[in-house]
């Protein structure tokens, strides 16, 4: 049973436009969520996180939105740049400090110049 789902395996966006990556989860106990970016032959790198007490968190070009009632989170990248082309993973955990992250299967983003 996949508790964290990224239903879009790939996404293409024009440079300068907004990229929106989506993630759904089924476990209502999840209360901490993260986004990672992964380039080929590298480990995932942390982008941004959000606690369930918030519905939005911004860091530069990256914003994560959390809709707890819909069990849905999204990552917005504005403006998108060619260097953002990578696989993006969302992850969730029950409680901060447990480090028991459940990952989605990833969405491959391609930013077209």
């Amino acid at each position: 049973d996949q508790q964290v789902k990224q239903n879009s395996p790939s996404l293409s966006v024009q440079e300068g436009r907004i990229s929106i990556l989506n993630c759904d989860y089924t476990n209502s106990m999840f209360d901490y969520f993260l986004w990672y970016k992964k380039y080929p032959a590298e480990g995932p790198t942390f982008l941004i996180s959000i606690s369930s007490i918030k519905d939005k968190n911004e860091d530069g070009r990256f914003t994560v939105f959390l809709n707890k009632s819909a069990k849905h989170l999204s990552l917005h990248i504005v403006p998108s740049q060619p260097g953002d082309s990578a696989v993006y993973f969302c992850a969730a955990s029950v409680g901060e400090g447990t480090y028991k992250y459940i990952f989605g299967t990833g969405t491959r983003l391609k930013v077209l110049a």
């Binding site: 964290v4 993260l34 990672y36 590298e42 480990g43 480090y99 992250y101 299967t105």
Partner: protein
């Protein structure tokens, strides 16, 4: 940030053999984590390795198949034993880290790409 190295970066192995993957961190950490990413799949936590105690394995993973050592606070090994083609995956180690603005996260090594024939 932390600097994490893994050895080997990739390997091709024959079924029935074992491979030991090393993970080295440039700072002392209490917890280290081992993940597996099978082709087209998500990252799955195998176990948590704490220095001075037995590793804690997640459901579906057992010590006989994935023995882990944690001899000190900067180093860990994961052995994939009696390999089969289903063990072909990327294996990653990670450590807990505070991201920007104090956000809790894990910092990942570059991974070991394993192909079992």
């Amino acid at each position: 940030s932390a600097v994490i190295s893994q050895k080997p970066s990739r390997d091709i192995c024959q079924r029935g053999t074992s491979l030991t993957i090393q993970c080295q961190v440039d700072s002392q950490v209490t917890m280290m984590f081992w993940y597996r990413q099978q082709p087209g799949q998500s990252l799955t936590l195998i176990a948590t390795a704490n220095q001075g105690s037995e590793a804690t394995y997640e459901s579906g993973f057992v010590i006989d198949k994935f023995p882990i050592s944690r001899p000190n606070l900067t180093f860990s090994t994961l052995t994939v034993s009696n390999m089969s083609p289903e063990d072909s995956s990327i294996y990653l180690c990670s450590v807990p880290l505070a991201g920007g603005r104090g956000q809790e996260t894990q910092y990942f090594g570059p991974g070991t790409r394993l192909l079992v024939l």
